[in-house]
């Protein structure tokens, strides 16, 4: 297992994607990395999905908004952080980003409105797993293209499956791929004609299971979406290219729990398979290691604290020591599977991290090693 501080891992990188399963502290890690890189002189923007209210407040982020905001220098002064660069932050609104993309690609106002008001689109843009991931990539691409920042840090959305966002551009473009749409919108084969009076066995079976209304709504949706497919396809290709570029770095965030480590290993393999630039792993919330108790510890604690409290203190040490051992074992397993890739560990902090000071504290373990 090798060690390297985050600033070394991210040297000459323009994009840092923090990925991992839910509940491992991705948002905190992303914010800490962005803060650390900005403090060292870069102009950094962190794109986050759903930060804890107090963390959002600490960064000066309003509840809703799809634009980057400069974190006020006074906040760093107040927390005693020397800020050599600039830290920008934005809270990503997937639905709004999707709407923006439709605005961008729609050939005319009528098509745009037809898409935006379609119920199937509304379901797709706000609820469907995968669209949030895709929209995060879209926003990242847009900001990267504009080139206003030295580094963009992306906190990926909380999905059941940490791999969702890798496939997201591909899945979404497949969804609106012209080949599938042609079936519904081919000229001379009006959708209604196709569904209303189609004669093939397949169509009659389809009508039987879906009902005619649903087919009609779907075909309307595909018809209006159809005019935007080439733009989407093009864009998805560029997003995929951006992710695979050597200026991008993927950092895997995980907790030291066995199931999270399993997923991290799987995810690492998938990143490599997909040819994406994996830079290292961050294991968050490690239980602090504790020394093994000597045989007479309970006696000595009893002498100091009495026969009621002493044994409890000894027992507690043993429990926490076992937790730390478990974490250490899990991280070793991760290291074996990751080969020479760097792994950084952050201890379980006594408080939830929700302010700049807390982030600075995390950074002692990410940067100053």
């Amino acid at each position: 297992m090798s060690l390297a501080p985050v600033d070394k891992l991210l040297a000459r990188k323009e994009i840092c994607v923090c990925a991992g399963s839910g509940g491992v502290g991705k948002t905190t890690a992303s914010a800490a990395i962005a803060l650390g890189m900005a403090a060292r002189g870069s102009k950094v923007a962190v794109l986050t999905i759903d930060p804890a209210r107090r963390l959002a407040d600490a960064l000066g982020l309003p509840e809703i908004g799809n634009e980057e905001r400069l974190v006020d220098r006074a906040r760093f002064d107040a927390a005693g952080i020397e800020m050599k660069g600039e830290l920008w932050a934005m809270m990503l609104d997937a639905k709004r980003t999707f709407d923006e993309v439709v605005h961008w690609h729609a050939p005319d106002a009528r098509t745009r409105d037809a898409v935006l008001s379609n119920r199937i689109y509304q379901e797709l843009s706000s609820a469907v797993a995968g669209s949030q991931e895709y929209m995060a990539m879209e926003k990242l691409h847009e900001l990267h293209n504009e080139g206003r920042y030295d580094l963009l840090v992306l906190d990926t959305p909380p999905s059941r499956n940490a791999l969702d966002f890798i496939d997201a551009p591909e899945r979404l473009s497949r969804f609106i791929d012209s080949r599938s749409l042609q079936l519904f919108t081919a000229p001379g084969r009006g959708a209604l004609k196709l569904f209303g009076r189609g004669t093939g066995v397949v169509f009659s079976l389809m009508r039987k299971v879906t009902g005619i209304d649903l087919l009609r709504d779907l075909s309307e949706f595909f018809t209006s979406f159809g005019s935007m497919t080439s733009g989407f396809r093009d864009r998805a290709d560029r997003v995929t290219a951006m992710l695979g570029d050597s200026r991008t770095a993927f950092l895997l965030v995980t907790s030291p729990r066995a199931d999270a480590i399993e997923e991290a290993v799987f995810f690492h393999d998938r990143l490599l398979d997909a040819g994406l630039p994996f830079a290292g792993a961050i294991v968050n919330r490690m239980n602090e290691s504790r020394p093994e108790a000597p045989a007479d510890l309970t006696d000595r604690l009893e002498e100091l604290l009495g026969s009621r409290l002493g044994p409890r203190v000894a027992h507690n040490l043993e429990d926490l020591r076992r937790l730390a051992e478990r974490d250490r074992g899990n991280v070793e397993r991760l290291a074996e599977r990751l080969g020479r890739s760097p792994i950084l560990t952050v201890p379980q902090l006594d408080e939830d991290v929700h302010d700049l000071l807390g982030l600075a504290h995390v950074n002692r373990h990410l940067f100053e090693i």
Binding site: S159, G211, P294, V313, D352
Partner: protein
């Protein structure tokens, strides 16, 4: 409080990522089976961890008994869809014909929320007293180890969406049935799993509000998982802090560990108080499990905790 839940037919278990949804779902399943209920715990989204915990071969889409009276299955959306088609068309030949047709595959790959809908459809089918699939026996209780809150909510919403969009036809009818079932408080309950930490508590409260406002469903129960024991009271802590600094390293480590445990337990208690104050749902707590591996024994212990605290 918890035992009341076992009289439902369907428990939908969700919560923030990493809080232990699968563990609590399995513990609820163990408890129900102990009470003589024929119980199914089903996992979704290609996940399968319960059979592994019980050390039995993976179940996939088959219903597998993992311990007496307790069954597990992992719902694959593709298999659920195939099964649904077959039931609708009442013919595996016709279902195969449609399922393998290119146009239908494009349509289903593209239709937003369809995977969620067919998953809910399978969950509903499992919970029916009159099972629709061949050679299947009814369950007294079905527990769904659902995805994390955001996606979980989307899954709960999918039957309503499809009922509304389709309006008529088999999908609309079927989605309507599923919707009625999951919104009937006599039959179904939604349970949120949380941890006594800031983010999971916020997400639980936010989920409760959205569930009420968007779906018209009241959150039935919150289970706070992984609660640290309160081993030391403030008098203990004063005594520990008063110990002379010149102690051996192991003693010093033991004292530091005690203070750190106290600190974590206290911060958890304050988050738990906040949750209890702000949620309308009853809250049950489960203790932190210090064992490195969670197996059937630990699940049984958690199940008896659920029972004891009810």
């Amino acid at each position: 409080m918890t035992l009341r839940l076992l009289d439902k037919r369907l428990l939908f278990v969700t919560g923030k990522g990493g809080v232990g949804r699968t563990t609590v779902s399995a513990a609820l399943g163990v408890l129900a089976a102990q009470h003589g209920k024929r119980t199914m715990v089903c996992e979704v989204a290609e996940q399968e961890r319960i059979t592994q915990t019980f050390g039995v071969p993976a179940a996939g889409f088959e219903e597998r008994e993992v311990s007496p009276g307790l069954f597990a299955l992992s719902v694959s959306p593709q298999r659920a869809q195939d099964e649904w088609l077959e039931l609708q068309l009442r013919s595996s030949t016709l279902a195969g014909l449609l399922g393998h047709s290119r146009v239908f595959q494009y349509l289903t790959a593209a239709a937003p929320g369809l995977r969620e809908l067919v998953t809910m459809g399978k969950v509903w089918e499992l919970a029916q007293l009159q099972r629709r699939t061949a050679r299947s026996s009814p369950y007294d209780l079905v527990i769904v180890d659902a995805p994390a809150t955001g996606h979980g909510l989307a899954m709960l919403r999918s039957p309503r969406t499809y009922r509304d969009i389709a309006r008529t036809g088999p999908i609309a009818r079927h989605a309507g049935l599923v919707r009625s079932f999951i919104t009937d408080p006599g039959q179904s309950s939604v349970i949120a799993i949380a941890r006594a930490e800031e983010m999971p508590v916020n997400e639980t409260l936010d989920f409760e509000r959205r569930l009420r406002e968007e779906e018209g469903i009241e959150l039935d129960h919150v289970v706070v998982n992984g609660l640290f024991p309160e081993r030391f009271n403030s008098a203990d802590v004063r005594r520990i802090e008063a110990v002379d600094g010149r102690v051996s390293a192991p003693v010093d480590a033991a004292l530091a560990a005690a203070l750190s445990e106290h600190h974590r337990a206290r911060s958890q208690r304050s988050q738990l108080r906040r949750l209890r104050k702000e949620t309308a749902a009853p809250v049950t707590t489960l203790p932190y499990v210090f064992e490195p591996e969670l197996g059937p024994d630990e699940l049984e212990r958690l199940a008896s905790e659920l029972e004891r605290r009810s």
